[in-house]
């Protein structure tokens, strides 16, 4: 097992090194093949690890693989170790599996690229860091990967750094994440103060026996600190602003990092710490509220965007809000479930968007698309599958996971009607804007300047694979209601699988309630879809009338509620003023003055002392001997 784990982690690193060396010998096929082969090897090893974890008996599925002690200072002992358990093995599978498909897609997508080796090197480095994040046995090891994926995200968003806007987008992502990371670190400090360890296994054990109301405040503070980090990485209010801008990067990157894997890292950490989170009702409430608000607001913004990738980005933010909401209401299994299904269909849709953008010569405005159903049949079919999955039509993947979350929000002990309502409304809006996207892109006549054509097999094969997963991913967690209703007993695989490493609480409510809720969510999805279909299909004039009734509101929405401008005015401007005054008044006058003053005074002292250095080395020796004699005198006197 040890060897497999080392292989899983090191293969992408090797790929990174090889491609890093090939950096200036650019050959798309060669570097792409190397990178894909490394990730493929990693994927195969992940499967082996997953199977061997499965083969272990229940309750003994955690393996700690210790390499060496990374930090050992007094009581703080951080081993460099990997924790293989159901959670990390399934995440490993997700990262390497989706990563592999996107690597292959990239070979086709990056065909006009000037430095593909660099691109693939970064992709491999990302996979490596993500695996460290997922496999780390302690919060600190995870934090290495956490920072590493942040770095890769920055590098890949700003991959086309010749365009200063894209470079700025990378910088924005990086800086926003720094705020989150600061919170994360503070959270770490609190948790360490409270428990004296950062190892997941120890934390879980300690959490089960946690029984001191007086330190609940400390725990809540620590968890909220970590949640700030999660907000940064998983794009929650108020730190979600970087994710839409991150679409400046190559589309496969958006699919891999900003939809499927990296942004779910926050959820991963929350599931890891689920036994702790569940102890603090305050933290739960905050998390759930933030998640629900994010889901709703992002969905609202998504309805008024015209850039295909921006729509998908807001959709991602919204779906991440769902996942956080799930965590907040204690449905950690549902959260991971949605992570998985979302990874499949959102990666699928991003890659589909990539295929479209590639075919239309980097045109991203959906107003200038249309009619692609005929010209790009495979893309259209797979995209449609993704669409059905995301709006939550059974039996596609999205339905099951979304339904589980909504059910928990309604019936769970931490749930609330308002939370459910926000999630439910967001589901409707999701159906609305996704259908709008479908209508404008595929079903209306072409408005494009370019003649589109189907993409190469390198790009369509990953699409097909992901489409299959998007269809059948829901089988991982079929709710009991349905399986009972069908008369067969299919266990909720995911919940059972995670039971020994996370807080899994299956809610048993009234069956009738559950079925009604399911029908309600399917209903609003269908309603949203039909509304969009009509408003953007045949009844465009109706839409314009609606918009003209409340132009201010729609402007507000399409300008994303002016959040960026708000941040600019409220935070950046005062910060800039403060920095300037610090620079001009404090630094230049006070600190520089002190430094220069000490400099000149030492210079003067040196000029005075230089007289002693008269060039006769024997005089220097004289000083030495005088000193020696002084020391010896002390010796003779006292010893």
């Amino acid at each position: 097992m040890d060897l497999y784990v080392i292989g899983v982690v090191l293969l992408p690193l090797i790929g990174f090194l090889i491609n890093g060396i090939l950096w200036d010998k650019n050959n798309r096929i060669v570097s792409g093949t190397i990178a894909s082969a490394c990730v493929a090897g990693s994927f195969v090893l992940s499967i082996i690890i997953f199977l061997s974890v499965r083969a272990a008996s229940v309750g003994e599925r955690s393996f700690l693989i210790h390499f060496y002690d990374w930090i050992h200072v007094d009581a703080l002992k951080v081993p460099m170790a990997f924790l293989i358990d159901p959670l990390s093995s399934i995440m490993c599978l997700l990262v390497t599996g989706v990563g592999l498909l996107i690597h292959i897609f990239s070979i086709g997508y990056m065909d006009e690229e000037k430095r593909p080796a660099k691109y693939f090197a970064f992709l491999n480095l990302f996979i490596f860091n993500m695996l460290i994040l997922v496999l780390g046995s302690s919060l600190l090891t995870t934090f290495i990967g956490w920072e590493g994926v942040g770095l890769c995200s920055y590098l890949l968003i700003g991959y086309w750094f010749e365009d200063s806007k894209k470079a700025d987008a990378g910088l924005k992502a990086f800086l926003t994440n720094r705020i989150g990371d600061a919170g994360f670190l503070v959270g770490l400090f609190f948790l360490y103060k409270l428990f004296g360890t950062l190892n997941y296994q120890d934390l879980n054990v300690l959490a089960l026996s946690f029984n001191s109301p007086e330190s609940l405040g400390l725990l809540t503070a620590g968890l909220l600190g970590i949640f700030i980090g999660v907000c940064g990485k998983s794009a929650q209010i108020p730190l979600y602003v970087w994710l839409p801008d991150a679409m400046a990067g190559p589309t496969p990157v958006s699919a891999l990092i900003h939809a499927a894997t990296m942004v779910t890292a926050g959820l991963f950490v929350m599931i890891r710490l689920s036994n702790l989170i569940i102890l603090s009702p305050t933290a739960m409430a905050v998390i759930a509220t933030v998640g629900a608000l994010t889901a709703l607001i992002a969905a609202i913004i998504g309805t008024c965007q015209w850039d295909i990738k921006k729509i998908l980005a807001y959709s991602t933010v919204s779906q991440l809000g769902y996942m956080v909401l799930a965590a907040g209401v204690g449905a950690f299994g549902g959260s991971l479930f949605h992570v998985l299904t979302h990874a499949f269909f959102k990666a699928l849709m991003f890659l589909g968007a990539g295929s479209i953008i590639h075919a239309l010569h980097h045109e991203q405005d959906i107003r200038k698309m249309g009619g692609l159903k005929k010209t790009m049949p495979i893309t259209a079919i797979t995209f449609t599958i993704g669409w059905i999955a995301i709006i939550g039509i059974p039996p596609f993947a999205g339905f099951f996971s979304k339904d589980e979350i909504l059910w928990s929000a309604w019936a769970g002990e931490h749930g609330h009607f308002l939370l459910w309502f926000m999630g439910w409304a967001a589901a409707g809006l999701t159906a609305f804007y996704m259908t709008r996207l479908m209508v404008l892109t595929f079903w209306t006549p072409s408005r494009s300047e370019h003649k589109a054509h189907e993409s190469s097999p390198l790009m369509t094969i990953p699409l097909v694979c992901l489409a299959v997963l998007a269809i059948f991913g829901g089988l991982l967690g079929i709710p009991e209601v349905i399986s009972h209703g069908l008369g067969i007993h299919i266990p909720h695989f995911l919940n059972e699988w995670l039971d020994e490493v996370a807080y899994i609480h299956v809610i048993h409510g009234k069956v009738s309630h559950e079925i009604i809720l399911m029908l309600l969510s399917v209903g609003i999805a269908v309603f949203g879809a039909i509304a969009a279909f009509l408003l953007y299909g045949k009844h465009q004039d109706t839409r314009e009338r609606i918009v003209s009734k409340a132009p201010k509101f729609f402007e507000l929405v399409s300008e994303k509620f002016y959040v960026d401008e708000l941040y600019e005015k409220m935070i950046l401007k005062p910060l800039r003023l403060l920095s300037e005054s610090l620079w001009k008044d404090v630094d230049q006058k006070f600190i520089d003055g002190a430094v220069n003053g000490s400099n000149t005074s030492i210079k003067k002292l040196g000029q005075g002392l230089a007289a002693v250095q008269n060039g006769f080395f024997q005089n220097y020796l004289l000083f030495m001997i005088v000193g020696l004699i002084a020391i010896l005198t002390v010796f003779v006197r006292y010893i």
């Binding site: 024997q618 004289l622 001997i625 005088v626 020696l628 004699i629 010896l632 005198t633 010796f635 003779v636 010893i639």
Partner: protein, 174 residues
């Protein structure tokens, strides 16, 4: 008075005379020759102390190589540059002599103070064994191999450095 004492007192005469003359000879060449005398005497003393191999190496390396080098270099210089009046310098540095004497006195005081090392009354038991070359070699090549290798490296560096140093062309300030 055993044989060791006899050897010691006999050998200390050339050693000390040599050392004194190194410092006081006006002619550097005589300094060098007296230094050779002193070193050969020390070599003999090492032999008496059971360090046979070190004794031979002392003569071969110090007397046979290092000091020959000194004498050769002295011969390379202009005779007048080397031999100029130094007696006055030696005489006119009473303060420095005083300092050195104080140093000597303090150190002797340290050595013979009871608490530091065994004084005259508590003579350490005399170890009579002779250290064989094999024993020395084992110490040198097994226990201290790293130091040995580093010294080898040092010698290589020195060899290159000396060659490049002595190839520097002369000339006045420019």
């Amino acid at each position: 008075m055993d044989l060791a004492s006899v050897f010691f007192w006999i050998l200390s005469i050339p050693i000390l005379v040599g050392a004194i003359c190194v410092v006081f000879s006006k002619n550097p060449l005589f300094s060098a020759l007296f230094l050779v005398l002193s070193m050969v005497g020390l070599g003999a003393l090492y032999f008496q102390l059971g360090a046979h191999f070190i004794s031979a190496v002392q003569i071969a390396v110090y007397a046979g190589a290092v000091m020959v080098l000194f004498v050769m270099v002295l011969m390379l210089f202009d005779r007048k540059a080397v031999e100029s009046e130094e007696a006055a310098v030696i005489k006119n540095s009473q303060f420095k002599w005083l300092l050195v004497s104080v140093f000597l006195g303090l150190m002797l005081g340290l050595i013979f103070s009871q608490s530091f090392i065994a004084g005259p009354d508590t003579i350490l038991p005399e170890a009579t064994s002779v250290v064989s070359t094999k024993e020395l070699g084992n110490l040198l090549y097994f226990k201290n191999i790293l130091s040995f290798e580093i010294l080898g490296l040092l010698l290589l560096v020195i060899a290159v450095g000396v060659v490049s140093l002595s190839r520097i062309e002369g000339g006045s300030d420019d």
